[in-house]
């Protein structure tokens, strides 16, 4: 783990899973904004380029289908595991704002960062980008085009941060205190249901500051200690349960931050204990017939 840096600004996203319909507009907005070429075989998940990916969590408990979709940008972790493994410092987390950078000409494609990222947020260009003459006209100057053979990732549309800072400078404002709507990534801007929120997680004036303290907020694989800057909200417990690896019968948001406090939720007493012993006295094995434990094992995420 890299040493965490305390940035004054931490750009972050809060995604309301209950509002997400899985329409995919965020995904296509991302592809267009960041010059992501169409894949050779879009069905090939392992070789297609998706900076933002939408996971389908939908299921049918007791025959009644329930839809849930989880858009997954780069988490811009507070302690990014990709940064510490990069042999050439092509990726780093050192700029104010806490966005993990990726410098394509510097990357030589060893893909160690992809192996280390627990969120699969990084993709590798297996093929030279192929642009039809029509698509070539749509290449934006915002993001530099990548050749094949380098790793790329979501940057929270970092160029928009640059543009917003420049606009503030010319208007005589402080680029270090951007208004909430001055800098918004393409996916958040495009979201038709308002499920995605974006702002400075450290700034009480921004909506994400309040949203991240929502009792239903959680982060993906929080107990790994990566300190992600992307939060999710769902009122449904079975969805929240999929955010991390819980034992059967283990209470949600159990205080098991093995690598120290990662600043989420309330009481941090009894650290480390809950991972071994299920909380609330429910049995760890057997039939979790009802209650919060009943949904824990529905997907592969539920068991260790």
């Amino acid at each position: 783990m890299s040493a965490a840096v305390d940035f004054r600004i931490r750009w972050g996203m809060v995604i309301d899973i209950d509002k997400c319909t899985g329409c995919g507009v965020c995904l296509s907005a991302c592809q267009k904004e960041n010059n992501i070429p169409p894949g050779q075989d879009p069905a090939d998940r392992f070789r297609s380029l998706n900076w933002l990916f939408i996971y389908d969590l939908s299921k049918a408990p007791g025959g009644q289908p329930e839809a849930a979709f989880l858009p997954r940008p780069c988490m811009q972790c507070g302690k990014p595991s990709c940064v510490s493994v990069c042999p050439v410092i092509a990726t780093d987390k050192n700029e104010e704002g806490g966005i993990v950078s990726q410098i394509y000409p510097r990357c030589f494609g060893c893909r160690y960062c992809m192996a280390s990222c627990p969120y699969h947020a990084r993709v590798f260009g297996w093929y030279d980008p192929k642009w039809t003459p029509e698509a070539k006209e749509l290449i934006t100057p915002h993001t530099s085009c990548r050749p094949r053979g380098v790793v790329e990732k979501c940057t929270f549309c970092h160029h928009r941060f640059m543009y917003a800072k420049d606009k503030a400078r010319v208007a005589g404002e402080d680029p270090g205190h951007l208004a909430e709507d001055a800098y918004i990534p393409a996916c958040v801007e495009a979201c038709p249901t308002g499920a995605m929120h974006f702002g400075d997680l450290n700034n009480p004036e921004h909506a994400v500051y309040k949203l991240k303290h929502d009792p239903n907020a959680f982060r993906l694989l929080e107990r790994l200690g990566t300190d992600p800057q992307v939060y999710y909200i769902s009122t449904r417990e079975w969805v929240r349960r999929l955010g991390d690896n819980y034992l059967d019968g283990e209470a949600l948001n159990a205080p098991t931050h093995r690598y120290g406090a990662v600043g989420h939720g309330g009481g941090h007493a009894a650290a480390g204990a809950a991972h071994a012993a299920p909380a609330h006295g429910e049995p760890a094995h057997g039939e979790p017939a009802h209650g919060e434990a009943s949904e824990g094992g529905q997907s592969g995420h539920g068991k260790e």
Partner: protein
């Protein structure tokens, strides 16, 4: 036993001739072949505008409201004055007839284009002198010839292999940032 040294094909002179020929090819022939010289489509005179007409630099090179920098002005900006031929200059006549009246943009050649993975912000460098990066153009009467590297497409003001007249090198950005206590984080300049 044959004397090995008798197999030598000459002394110092052939070596010296070859050495000179190599230097000639390396320092003159190859750079000439590598760079193609380009002239600006219109002989724009900074001297006429800045000195004779007393215009300020900011009259043409200004910041847009969205924070971007208006580096080379568009034809519409020039047409605010040059809607008709104002002087005697043949290039001005050509500019008005070929570009202003046809509402076309002039294909000016940029001297200091940055690669597409560099985000240079003029707005962040407002307090710096323009001439700390750009040549002083205020008294320039004929735009300098642009030399375009045929392999890379980068432009510069001479056809030397090692140069500081074209695209800003990363070490120069980094050195100035370090000396002025500015961040050298990757994403301060890159995208």
């Amino acid at each position: 036993m044959a004397n090995k040294s008798s197999a030598s094909s000459g002394g110092a002179l052939p070596f010296f001739i070859g050495f000179i020929a190599m230097l000639f090819v390396g320092w003159w022939v190859f750079p000439q072949a590598l760079f193609s010289a380009m002239e600006q489509p219109i002989r724009f005179s900074h001297k006429v505008h800045a000195e004779d007409q007393g215009m300020a630099c900011e009259d043409c090179h200004f910041f847009n409201e969205d924070g971007s920098y208006n580096g080379i002005p568009a034809t519409a900006k020039c047409a605010e004055c040059h809607s008709d031929v104002l002087g005697e200059d043949p290039d001005e006549k050509k500019f008005v007839e070929e570009y202003v009246s046809k509402e076309k943009e002039v294909p000016w050649v940029a001297y200091q284009d940055q690669p597409d993975n560099v985000f240079f912000s003029h707005a962040a460098h407002q307090k710096q002198e323009c001439t700390s990066c750009h040549p002083d153009m205020a008294g320039n009467d004929t735009p300098p010839t642009v030399f375009v590297n045929k392999l890379t497409g980068y432009t510069q003001l001479d056809h030397k292999m090692l140069n500081d007249t074209g695209t800003m090198k990363m070490y120069r950005c980094e050195r100035c940032h370090a000396l002025n206590g500015q961040s050298n984080a990757c994403y301060v300049c890159h995208r």
